[in-house]
């Protein structure tokens, strides 16, 4: 039997420097010992029930899973509030929270490998984290998020990356994703890109109008396989 331990919106540690706030978020642990953790970075709708369920699913797959609450405890009630929070997000603080959470998990649970799973806004934060702290992360799943276009930024992305994008995404051009993939390949970087037919922005989220169960299922299976390959198998 699997045991999922959830710590809802609770501070999970205070080993950090006095200047930085302890990471806030939701932690799900696997029942057996693990050497790997995945940080889940939420979209603009915040750390809600669905994000927690993703952590629980990751724990069932053998990962320590921690959803970082980059909104600092706020949960938007609707799309407009989500927008207000996203537009105002202090990105430097969000980045620090993510790095602190990775450090906390590594030290507290003696983990060897940390990966990232970011959705939309969280995908952008995941790419930002691996770009600014290259040594900390070993795999990154980016779900329909903006991708860097500048050579110097792409050069800094050093861990294996998996991208999921719907072909009908209103904000992300297929050509921009293909160009990013090409740029990564040209630098011999590991990138796996997946497009989903008749699928739009937000397709993973069950309460989003673009939710697409078939694409979401396929993307999730690919993500788990990818994360296991780079975070779990290497620790055996």
């Amino acid at each position: 039997m699997l045991l999922i331990v959830g710590v809802q919106s609770a501070s999970v540690g205070n080993m950090l420097t006095e200047q930085s706030a302890p990471p806030l978020g939701y932690l799900a642990k696997p029942t057996s010992a693990t050497a790997a953790a995945v940080l889940v970075l939420h979209d603009n709708l915040g750390l809600d029930h669905w994000i927690k369920s993703l952590c629980d699913s990751l724990a069932r797959e053998g990962f320590m899973a921690f959803a970082v609450d980059v909104y600092g405890g706020k949960l938007p009630e609707d799309m407009m509030e989500a927008h207000e929070l996203e537009r105002a997000l202090p990105e430097d603080k969000a980045r620090q929270n993510i790095i602190n959470a990775a450090q906390f998990l590594k030290e507290t649970y003696k983990l060897k490998h940390i990966g990232l799973f970011g959705i939309a806004m969280g995908g952008m934060l995941a790419l930002d984290a691996i770009s600014s702290h290259r040594e900390k992360f070993e795999a990154c799943v980016v779900n329909y998020a903006p991708l860097p276009t500048t050579d110097s930024l792409i050069e800094r992305l050093n861990c294996p990356i998996m991208i999921h994008v719907g072909e009908n995404d209103f904000g992300i051009e297929r050509s921009s994703v293909e160009q990013f993939t090409k740029n990564m390949h040209a630098r011999q970087k590991h990138i796996e890109t997946h497009f989903y037919k008749e699928t739009g922005f937000g397709f993973l989220r069950p309460n989003h109008e673009n939710f697409c169960p078939a694409s979401a299922h396929e993307a999730w299976q690919r993500s788990i396989k990818f994360l296991k390959t780079y975070l779990l198998k290497s620790s055996q």
């Binding site: 603009n44 903006p146 992300i172 739009g200 922005f201 937000g202």
Partner: protein, 249 residues
């Protein structure tokens, strides 16, 4: 009575001062790509200060174009950039996809290229260039000030992301006008005050106006839930005064 007459006279003088404008869609180079923008300026030939205008999460819509026309009528060359490359919407779900899908580095390149484009126009006084944006564009207006440093003279932020970090704000050399609503659910008043303090400690000229009874996007008349006419007009008056002082002074 005398006051009313004087006021009416003043208002008629003000409207008489507003110049006729011309406008068109233009394209300019941003790296290897072409970006489109709405360019508005006074009809009368001359050399004018210029303003980079940045749209909300909806994209370059008619309201933003009307704001460009309104600023142009005050004697500015205004370039309202299209960060979304032709896409525009009035649906929150689509706007969310557009904002969430916008690569920040591309947007910054587009805005720096907008500055270079304005500099190249014969109608522009290249020493006097400012920026203005609303919502997401307000955040980018501050980003422009950080990226362009002393090249930018004035920066207006309407309810955009702010920071109280002096290291982050260190490269901002422009004078700043920040307009916010106290009911904004994403930007607490204390963040705005921290921003103001940081800029003032850095020695920057900074004016902050917080409207107690307004929330996010109160200046946009299409925002049926939160438009506040009186505050929007007051904010616009402050904007005009600020640009006059910084770009024409």
């Amino acid at each position: 009575m005398k006051i009313v007459v004087a006021l009416a006279l003043l208002l008629s003088m003000e409207s008489a001062l507003q110049a006729k404008t011309i406008s068109k869609m233009v394209t300019y180079k941003s790296g290897e790509e072409e970006v489109s923008a709405y360019l508005a300026m006074p009809e009368e030939k001359g050399k004018y200060p210029a303003i980079i205008m940045i749209h909300e999460w909806w994209g370059l819509n008619d309201w933003i174009k009307s704001m460009a026309d309104a600023l142009a009528s005050e004697g500015y060359v205004v370039l309202a950039v299209d960060l979304y490359r032709g896409k525009v919407t009035n649906k929150p779900d689509e706007a969310s996809a557009l904002m969430s899908g916008l690569p920040k580095d591309r947007a910054i390149r587009d805005l720096k290229s907008a500055y270079a484009y304005l500099q190249s126009l014969s109608e522009v006084n290249a020493a006097k260039i400012g920026s203005i944006g609303w919502c997401m564009g307000g955040s980018y207006s501050l980003t422009v000030a950080k990226e362009l440093g002393e090249k930018l003279t004035a920066c207006v932020i309407n309810y955009g992301r702010v920071s109280g970090d002096k290291t982050e704000l260190g490269t901002v050399k422009a004078s700043v006008l920040g307009i916010f609503g106290a009911q904004d659910r994403g930007i607490p008043v204390e963040s705005v005050r921290a921003f103001e303090t940081a800029l003032k400690e850095l020695g920057r000229m900074c004016e902050i106006k917080i409207y107690e009874d307004s929330g996010h996007a109160f200046m946009n008349p299409n925002n049926t839930r939160g438009y506040n006419k009186a505050n929007a007009e007051d904010a616009w008056r402050r904007t005009i005064e600020f640009f006059k002082k910084t770009l024409k002074g």
